[in-house]
């Protein structure tokens, strides 16, 4: 009992003495064992390579696609830096990758997302280099793929286009956090309740906080999409995938 109290005190002191070390949502530096860090890096690498090839094509393309790519990239930069308060009393941030996934397909957003994650890992001690692969997988691979599939699927139906974009971006955002929670619970299984117990705990931290933020991300993505649709209809910009 005494030992437990002592441990609690140490943990509390540690938490108090390292304020602001980590905010929001990515897996923190050093918090995945080496084999998992390597595993996620290897899983993420092919997507990054395919994305780089696709981006090369975009750059050889007309000015029009480059402009749109800049817009999608800027959107990720802004949204992933906005730490927004949620109903759970903690903060997290949107990802912003949904817009680009809809416009360019998921793998290009793997590249953009990796750049942002690197920026945050190197300059902000947010996320980390050892956990980069895992964070890329959740935010820059699964998130965009989910958004892309939902958009493609609903596009053919009668559902309102802006609403389709809203749902695609919001669910893609939630998917990112479900993946993060899963990645953590595979490594840190609860000694009593096991994998599912851990998953419930991590999901309650990430996913519940994330629901209002997913809605925010969906709405902001729909706003930009609406603008693009209007400019597209007036013929000043040519968006193929709209």
């Amino acid at each position: 009992m005494k030992k437990k109290n002592y441990l609690l005190l140490v943990v509390l002191l540690l938490l108090l003495s390292t304020p602001g070390v980590s905010h929001a949502m990515h897996i923190m530096e050093g918090f995945l064992p080496a084999k998992w860090a390597i595993f996620w890096a290897i899983v993420s690498l092919p997507f990054l390579i395919i994305g780089l090839r696709k981006i090369n094509k975009v750059f050889k393309d007309d000015v029009n696609s480059k402009v749109l790519l800049g817009l999608a990239g800027g959107f990720v930069f802004v949204l992933s830096a906005l730490k927004i308060p949620s109903v759970t009393g903690s903060c997290s941030h949107p990802t912003g990758v949904g817009l680009g996934a809809i416009l360019f397909g998921p793998t290009i957003m793997t590249v953009v997302g990796t750049i942002v994650l690197l920026f945050q890992a190197l300059l902000l001690a947010h996320g980390g280099l050892t956990t980069l692969g895992a964070n890329v997988f959740s935010m820059a691979i699964v998130g965009p793929i989910v958004s892309y599939i939902i958009y493609k699927g609903l596009k053919k139906t009668q559902v309102n286009k802006s609403f389709t974009v809203f749902i695609a971006a919001a669910v893609g955002n939630l998917a990112t956090y479900v993946v993060t929670a899963t990645q953590l619970s595979v490594v840190f299984q609860d000694p009593v309740t096991g994998l599912m117990g851990s998953l419930a705990k991590f999901l309650s931290v990430f996913a519940v906080t994330q629901i209002p933020l997913a809605i925010v991300e969906g709405l902001l993505t729909a706003i930009i999409y609406n603008l693009l649709v209007e400019y597209n209809s007036r013929g000043v910009i040519n968006v193929e995938n709209i």
Partner: protein, 97 residues
């Protein structure tokens, strides 16, 4: 059919509303980061776990951190503003022709 700008304004107001609700109704919460809380869960499940890597560099203070975060936003918002502005100008020039 509502105009795009009107729809977008409404959507934007909803965004502001969603952000303000927790601030107004849960003013006494800490609003710390969700990944800090995840760290707490990790320490609860595996108290012996030692992070085996440290961030290479950490912002020396909250101020510097917010400087860097706002720099990130500035880069992104600047890009978006420039591009949307460019598209709008193109529209004007096209319609004046």
């Amino acid at each position: 059919m509502l105009k795009t700008s009107k729809i977008n304004l409404i959507l934007f107001l909803v965004v502001i509303g969603i952000i303000l609700v927790p601030l107004i109704f849960m003013g006494d919460s800490e609003f710390g980061g969700a990944d800090g809380e995840a760290e707490g869960v990790i320490l609860e499940i595996a108290p012996d776990y030692e992070p085996w890597a440290e961030p290479i560099w950490e912002p020396p203070s909250g101020e510097i951190e917010s400087l860097l975060f706002s720099t990130q936003v500035a880069i992104g918002a600047g890009t978006i503003g420039y591009i949307i502005g460019m598209i709008r100008e193109k529209k004007k020039i096209a319609s004046n022709r």
